[in-house]
Amino acid sequence: MSEAATSNTTELPPPFESLGQPEMRLELLSQPRYLCGGRSMVESVALRLGFDELNAGQIALAVDEALAIVIRHGYDKATDRRIWMSLWPAEPTTGKEGIHIAIEDEAKQVDPAGIKSRDVSEVRPGGLGVYLIEQIMDAARYEQRDPIGMRLMMTKFAKKNPSNDKH
């Protein structure tokens, strides 16, 4: 049990509830024309939180893909639903420069285990969104919100630690 407690404190991404009020929180309509606003915001904040341009751009891509998945799959392209994106600097919770991001919706709940990236060596259009998110972020986790909707938690650090294990 004490082992579980320890691994809980280092869980990545950290539990949503443990992060407290986000430093930025964006609510947007489920319309593709607003994707640009979400990703631009994240990109410029990531630059301020210590990421270089390439990595800030990739975080923006991960966010764009996550929002687009909610629009296409969660809301079946309905344009009158709401999506929330929350940001926290990773430093206070992890001691490392980086960012935690949550994407939340009020869509039908699905089994998080069923949201998987596919084998990209098979070249076909589509099915890249989850793969890109997993490749870009250091950690990503889908979960069911209480009482409705899904949540994607993501964490990325500005610089990889030479040693993976700080303990």
Binding site: C36, R39, G57, L61, I71, V123, P125, G126
Partner: protein, 109 residues
């Protein structure tokens, strides 16, 4: 987004400009399909004016490649900016497409 298409004796060149994301990828898809229907020998998609592309744009280009292969059209991508190249690399599609630096190189690639 704006999409201009030009036809030379050797190739049809598609020049999209602006971010290609879910809100506009269908426009690119329609433009590519229309060009492919002419069954040109060579189609060049010049991405010099595209600062950003997400997986919906990539899907459109993968689809274009599949059509191109069926009808023996040569499909070449050129002018990729760094951020756009990065999504092709992460998705391991940088070796699947013929990607060259500029429109000049694309005419003979």
């Amino acid at each position: 987004m704006q999409i201009e298409t030009e036809t030379t004796s050797d190739a049809t060149i598609i020049n999209p400009s602006g971010d290609v994301d879910l809100s506009v990828s269908r426009e690119l898809q329609a433009a590519v399909k229309k060009v492919m229907e002419e069954k040109p020998q060579r189609v060049i998609v010049n991405l010099a004016g595209v600062p950003y592309m997400d997986s919906s744009g990539v899907a459109t280009l993968v689809e274009a490649m599949q059509i191109a292969r069926k009808q023996e059209t040569r499909l070449v991508l050129c002018g990729m900016q760094d951020k756009v190249r990065s999504i092709f690399e992460i998705a391991r599609l940088d070796k699947v497409f013929t990607i060259v630096d500029d429109a000049g190189a694309a005419a003979s690639a």
